[in-house]
């Protein structure tokens, strides 16, 4: 199997604090990787390196489809097809739905003039197809702060899909969602797999990660504590081992 993303010997320190230490991490073609870890394990830092928001310390290497990524940035990550659905959901509350969908990637005509008409039309199309908003109460002009948690997640997920992501990173997408909304989010992860794309699914709830992931990676205190293919392990075995990780910092594989 080929890899979309390979990270070799990645470290990241903030001042005195080592958030990541010598991490080797990869995502295969059309693979859903579940990334588990406690708060402060370094999950968010790892994600922010993948999205170009943080630069890793020197010595590490990031490869995209086998080619090294240099001068990596958020814009470049977008351009090559890395999309994130953040836990804080990355929406601008006081702005309209269409402005949120096209946030940072506005459709423009010559000279940077906004193509408002096209953005509204595209948003309307997405509302009925991907987001499943059928209520006449929501329009392209609705401000996002009036939306429910599930609706907001839908906006963020749809935004990722619209921009033809190759690798979708879901940062705790089920946090704060109701049971039915969680199921919707998990269905979306399956749809990424069905569409032939890859995803990194970050959560600390193993019951959400286990059913949809192909491979599970456990991060602990800035290092990879262990990883395994899902079919090697039952959910019960995984749960037991995670308790061990919490105690010893190591996962028996």
């Amino acid at each position: 199997m080929g890899y979309v993303l390979q990270m070799k010997n990645i470290s990241k320190t903030f001042g005195e604090v080592a958030a990541l230490h010598d991490v080797n991490f990869e995502v295969g073609d059309n693979e859903i990787v579940g990334l588990l870890g406690d708060n402060g394990a370094g999950k968010s830092t790892l994600v922010k390196i993948i999205t170009g928001y943080h630069q890793p310390d020197t010595g590490g290497e990031v490869l995209w489809k086998g080619a090294p990524l240099e001068h990596f940035s958020v814009a470049r990550a977008h351009a090559i097809g890395i999309e994130v659905v953040y836990q804080e959901r990355a929406l601008a509350d006081k702005q309209s739905l269409w402005r949120n969908i096209f946030m940072g990637r506005e459709l423009t005509t010559a000279g940077g003039k906004l193509d408002v008409k096209r953005m509204r039309a595209e948003t309307l199309k997405l509302m009925h197809s991907a987001m499943g908003f059928t209520s006449s109460a929501i329009t392209t002009e609705s401000t996002v702060k009036t939306f429910s948690g599930g609706e907001r997640q839908g906006v963020a997920i749809t935004r990722a899909l619209y921009f033809r992501a190759e690798l979708v990173i879901l940062d705790e997408p089920t946090m704060g969602l109701s049971i039915s909304e969680t199921r919707k989010a998990l269905d979306f992860v399956r749809s990424i797999k069905a569409a032939g794309k890859s995803a990194i699914f970050i959560d600390h709830n193993i019951f959400h990660v286990y059913p949809v992931a192909d491979r599970i990676v456990v991060l602990d205190r800035g290092t990879i504590a262990g990883q395994f293919m899902k079919n090697e392990l039952t959910l019960q075995e995984l749960t037991d081992r995670l308790y061990d990780v919490a105690k010893t910092g190591n996962l028996k594989t």
Binding site: R99, G104, E106, L114, S148
Partner: protein, 336 residues
């Protein structure tokens, strides 16, 4: 029960028919127009002789642009979640550029050009201090407010400059001439600056990023918006327009006083907040600021015409700022 189930009844109330949606969307703009009409009627009753003559309206169109011009770009800065208090000194700093270059070359046009360049630089410096050093803009621009005023006083040694030389050039007519011998050109400049900035705020990528930066700076950054550049540009535009406004005042009065700009702080900031721009960033309109600045201008004239002393103006402007910011905050909480 999940958190969104609790939120749901609230979000239902936020969704009504299209008429209600229109009212909601333009609530602030409609509100400010209503306030303008009420203020006008009050003054018509309070001082009918003044407010029924056309002179007072010509006077509004002549003097309101002094601060309305700056309030318009200042709206951009406040939408990004920052503030600029230094613009009054920048008005004078720009004119120092004019002063020095005019005295050296004798050219009004070169002086005017130098004035704009000085304003541009002053605005850029504000933006750089805020973005590159991470100093809160409130503190940074209090600093530059005194800094530029100090530079002005040191260079001019406190003495002013006659501006009669401008009347021999077309520039005077272009900037502060009278159309049909009546309507001051600075009024059209205010509309022009308003229209241009409205376009960039509402119909250009720059404006979209201005709103996103002020609304949720973290997500804007995560989505690849260059928030630093957006803020620097907003500050720079304020500096440029402040210098232009300084030239307008000096050309109109035919004299440049080094203290130029003192007294416009309150009126300018009051215009932006009265116009409905959020003190928390993320929302605000050019239309609101434009209408509000004429309300402020009318209040100034109205106070005097109603027989109150000029001492009342500061009290009333202060009250307007406090009241409009408080009302906005309360309403904002209700509507969420």
């Amino acid at each position: 029960m999940s958190s969104d189930e609790i939120a749901r009844p609230l979000s239902k109330t936020a969704r009504r028919g299209p008429t209600s949606r229109f009212l909601r969307k333009y609530a602030l703009q409609l509100g400010i127009v209503a306030v303008a009409l009420i203020v006008w009627v009050l003054f018509l009753i309070g001082a009918p002789r003044t407010f029924l003559s056309k002179e007072i309206y010509v006077s509004f169109m002549s003097t309101t642009p002094y601060f309305a011009l700056i309030a318009i770009p200042l709206t951009l800065v406040i939408i990004t979640g920052e503030i600029d208090l230094s613009f009054a000194s920048v008005m004078s700093f720009g004119m120092v550029g004019y002063d020095v270059v005019f005295v050296a070359t004798g050219s009004v046009w070169l002086g005017f050009f130098a004035c704009l360049v000085c304003g541009l630089i002053a605005g850029l410096v504000n933006g750089m201090i805020v973005v590159k050093f991470g100093v809160p803009s409130l503190v940074a621009t209090i600093g530059t407010w005194y800094l530029w005023r100090g530079v002005v006083l040191v260079i001019t040694n406190g003495t002013g400059l006659g501006m009669t030389a401008t009347t021999t050039t077309a520039l005077h007519d272009i900037v502060v001439g009278r159309v049909f011998g009546l309507i001051p050109m600075q009024f059209f400049w205010t509309i022009g600056v308003g229209a241009i900035i409205w376009f960039f705020l509402n119909r250009h990528r720059f404006g979209a990023h201005v709103y996103l930066t002020g609304d949720n700076i973290e997500s804007a950054r995560l989505m690849g918006v260059n928030v630093g550049r957006v803020k620097i540009l907003a500050f720079t535009i304020v500096g440029l327009v402040a210098a232009f406004a300084g030239f307008v005042v000096s050309a109109e009065l035919l004299f440049y006083w080094p203290t130029l700009g003192d007294g416009y702080q309150l009126t300018t900031i009051a215009s932006v907040f009265l116009g409905g721009t959020s003190v928390f960033g993320g929302t605000g309109t050019i239309f609101g600021t434009f209408v509000a600045s004429f309300i402020i201008g009318a209040i100034n004239a109205g106070i005097v015409a109603s027989g109150l002393t000029n001492f009342w103006t500061q009290l009333i402007y202060g009250l307007i700022i406090v009241a409009s910011v408080s009302i906005q905050t309360l309403l904002g909480r209700k509507l969420t």
